[in-house]
Symmetry: C2
Subunit: 297 residues, 2 copies
């Protein structure tokens, strides 16, 4: 594995300095040329480009076979995210079995999708899995995740130079209006909010539970939400939302007895190889940020 | 002021014992005889009787004049409930100005409704104000309120013998699907969940911020939610929800920048005079539980 270069990469998106800075997005949202063949309709790509997300009613067939009871969802503690080691991840077009790195085997080698996963927002077949995780909110007061742009972290701490990465959040349990579903500010992916404050060493150990460095100010969130509004995503098990790496998103807590578990898979273009971190003293471990750049497709 | 009697009142709804106990509701939901004239339609009363709530799109005209900016809503701290001293409350059919007991004057003597407030779920003109408060969730992570039945507390700690009390939650700010609005389990008001655990002295001092005594178990909430489902209430400023005193309700947190403030007014039948507390060592102070039984109407 080599970095894209050694520190000659220009930092397009400054962050974690002394002040919060707003920077316009330089990168395209959809990287393929208009008219490039792919599994998505043109109007779907246009919608993704405009809003920064695209919802699919039934991406995964058979999601009900994955862990979704309160008991299962409690594995490893409440309200935490569980990272899957990419080594243990059967990623790709047809399988997305996930092993919890601190828990028992869950869904390993189990068929969770019988359709090809559509990766058109990034280049088809030219992606690797940057990160994968299960977000478990078992209910009865499980906490949410505060507002953030994933790219802000991946740029600062993992060295991804460009916004050429897309996530998909797949519901393993019904996402009701009441159990802490994903919220996105539509259109927020077009502006990059560089956050104030330096990155502490080993920040990743707690940033997966509660945001610290990389947290937007109240004033910035007010500006973003006033301009963009907030969309809450709901859907049955197997529904999914693709969203851009720079979309401002978060989720509330879950006091209902209905667990809310989603698998997140993050696909990065193989042409978007990481530089050294742009704003962190150390790179995060590879079970958080993959250094395996083998294309998925 | 005298109690309804001195401890000869039968305890219809045991709670705060060594175990959680489910008791069927003995009291009616609508106390008036069928066909009694009043400002609500028969189908509205039937709906209230069945579900334990009734929503009104625009109960209050002029709610936008009340404090609703993040700055205003921050008065007195985040995510706390502010109790209004009934002495300072201009209650009744046309005024509902409220003074925060630990903050500046807010909305005092301001006309918040130009329509009579409809109290038909209890006896018209035969109610007093048992409690009034503003629930302030300024956003950016303000916490919610865990599941509870108000009557459980009012019975245990204030000595209300019967379920003859109704609340109205009036939105001072828009209640979006995303900013921690009221959630009710429809139909839950027909069963009384007696909670396990004795009431500590001065419980009220922290129970208004976080539930402690009077908290349902996970198992009971799962049973209630599976049978009843959960309804989330949304609406513009001025919209309102009437709900029965025994409805199981709660609310999630609010990480959005959109503040969510609601006024709660609680009307108790003058025929439902409090006994000594059924399950607490001391009565709560009168700014929480009124001892003024003057009819409103």
């Amino acid at each position: 594995m080599t970095y894209a270069s050694t520190r000659t990469v220009h930092d397009l998106y400054p962050t974690r300095g002394s002040e919060e800075v707003l920077t316009g997005r330089v990168d395209p949202v959809v990287w393929s040329e208009p008219g490039t063949p792919g599994p998505m309709w043109a109007h779907e790509l246009e919608s993704f480009e405009r809003d920064g997300f695209l919802s699919v009613d039934e991406l995964v067939v058979g999601a009900q076979d994955l862990p979704r009871t309160p008991h299962d969802a409690r594995i490893g503690g409440e309200g935490r995210e569980h990272l899957a080691d990419p080594v243990d991840l059967e990623h790709g077009a047809h399988f997305a079995g996930v092993r919890l790195h601190d828990g028992p085997l869950v869904g390993q080698r189990r068929r969770v999708t019988q359709q090809p996963v559509h990766l058109v927002p990034v280049d088809v077949h030219l992606v690797d899995v940057h990160q994968s995780r299960i977000n478990v909110k078992p209910g009865f007061g499980a906490s949410g995740f505060y507002w953030h742009s994933d790219f802000e972290t991946w740029h600062a701490e993992d060295g991804l130079p460009h916004m050429r990465t897309v996530s998909v959040s797949i519901a393993l349990t019904p996402n009701h209006p009441t159990n802490g579903g994903l919220m996105i500010m539509p259109g927020s992916h077009r502006s990059f909010l560089g956050c104030a404050g330096a990155t502490p060493k080993d920040n990743y150990k707690k940033s997966l539970q509660m945001q610290d460095a990389g947290t937007p100010s109240d004033a910035a969130l007010t500006k973003f939400a006033s301009a963009c509004g907030i969309k809450l995503f709901t859907g049955k098990a197997g529904s999914a939302t693709w969203f851009d790496c720079n979309a401002m998103h978060g989720s509330g807590d879950n006091i209902t007895p209905f667990p809310r578990s989603n698998v997140f898979l993050v696909f990065n273009s193989v042409e978007n190889r990481p530089s050294p971190p742009f704003a962190a003293p150390v790179r995060r471990p590879r079970y958080i940020a993959s250094q395996d750049f083998t294309p998925v497709g």
